[in-house]
Symmetry: C2
Subunit: 349 residues, 2 copies
Amino acid sequence: MSVLSTLRHPIIAAPMAGGPSTPALVAAVSAAGGLGFLAAGMIDTGRLVADVAEVGARTDRPFGVNLFLPDPGGVDEAAIQAYAERLGPQAARRGVSLGEPVGGDDAYPEKMAALLADPVPVVSFVFGLPDRAAVTALRERGTEVWATVTRPDAATAAADLGVDAVVVQGTEAGGHRGGLPDDDDYGLLPLLRLTAARCDRPLVAAGGLVDGPSVAAVLAAGAAAAQLGTAFLRCPEAGSSPMHRAAVASATPTALTRSYTGKRARGVANDFLRQHDAVAPRGYPQVLHLTRPLLAAARRDGDASVANLWAGQAHPLARDLPAAQVVAEVSAGARAALATVVERSSRWG
Amino acid sequence: MSVLSTLRHPIIAAPMAGGPSTPALVAAVSAAGGLGFLAAGMIDTGRLVADVAEVGARTDRPFGVNLFLPDPGGVDEAAIQAYAERLGPQAARRGVSLGEPVGGDDAYPEKMAALLADPVPVVSFVFGLPDRAAVTALRERGTEVWATVTRPDAATAAADLGVDAVVVQGTEAGGHRGGLPDDDDYGLLPLLRLTAARCDRPLVAAGGLVDGPSVAAVLAAGAAAAQLGTAFLRCPEAGSSPMHRAAVASATPTALTRSYTGKRARGVANDFLRQHDAVAPRGYPQVLHLTRPLLAAARRDGDASVANLWAGQAHPLARDLPAAQVVAEVSAGARAALATVVERSSRWG
């Protein structure tokens, strides 16, 4: 029996690396009948193991862990050096030095080993597709494997790998693009329909979904469930900073940019995003490491004009409610939206 | 009684300027219980008047006319000159000269006068919002006025103008962006939800909608009807060229670009789009007039690597069927998709 089929509500809390997806948030969503996801990116393996244990202690319902796949490399060192020279004075004015723009695999092999040693119900991947050995090893231990795609042909490749479900991420989504390369611009509905036409796996729709009617929409378009991130950023259980919560609650539009990390990600637009977007080079995690001290200092100073403020396009609709209530109200809102339209549809023809 | 409330199917054929939206297509969609739209852009007023008369002769059902609003101006003449120098050799190799990059209002005042003299059921606008006088004059003659928006704040402004409905166009849409400026990137679902939260007019969802489940999706998300363009490009009644039909039927992804006309528009990506996208200046209709002889020559030569091939992101799902059958099958598909999900939703909670 698949994890998706055991959910009481067709709602998944997207993994949000960098703080928001606390064990408390993940457990609250799963306990409420949705599916919570830990974000394993940008933390060390010890922390991941501890977070997994904490979720397990808080709920006996299924949950997932999301892994960042290592970048295949091939960055333009000169472009990253030029970006460092551009950002240097801004860092100096704030009293910090930029970081070393090093590469790295985010301890992927070690995290994978930990998840094989102590299996969780679901592991999802972003930043490309896992290799066949990883899929096989996880599935042999009873872990479902979910891939993330941002273009239709990646969904075909994911199905060929034998994954259990495919997360279909539209351009509306907050945070990093889950696909590789990072420059797809498919809106969620066309991507969902094009993916459904060529991939027989259950589809999880992600990107810009915050309320009941938008969840109803993706289910009507063929998704088995909806994955919401921004909708949970204002929950008391989330680890989001006060500055981040304020940006989510604002009406300021978002934009996609490589300014902060070298990989395209969507955040509430601010000065830093606009000043550097046109020249920010591709190069993850090199640019992430480069900007990290500057962005951390901006967060420490409460400077929302510089810090990254990841959010999906519908962020003004996110609400300050406990996670269980978000799950229940979004689900009820989806059901009500469907009932209204089905009643209307009886009059067509 | 609003035009939307008289439709037997919640399906509108998007106005597609440049040939596809023939009177035969418009009349076929309206006669089938949807709503057809003539495209008044880039034709002269005599032709518009004749097209309106022909639709009226073919069906007694309501239909609409779409008008291009004149650009407020402010183009960068030097950038357009540089683009002309870049394209010159390519035009010469094809044996044509580039056009004069002149401005112009697409005979907007004259077309408006014709529509006031001989009113049609609906007039929709793109490229910004009409002024209050135009809205009032049309409504006094019994014509509904629909505005097109690509960002939430424009929907608020449209509602303040007293329009009868708002067409909400997501980034997934084929052809030109209907808003002003042309660089919004909202996906359809977030835009629909953000617009519904601040605008009490009926919403028409547009962008990347080709099949029944995607139409079901936008209705569940609160739209009163769905506007489909690409879905009709392969119909026998459409004026689409064989080259355009082949591109729509292909799996080649689309992209947004100013390469062809100086205004961002989505088409199936080809060499011309990719070669010039990074440098093509903003400037409509100047760039349209500049490239017109080159693009016309490419069409004449059947060269799909140069001609503009407008299409929405879900174009591979468009089918070669008579327009009435597209309307009936998309509507039936939407109803079936809704029935399936509503059955599932009874088990949540």
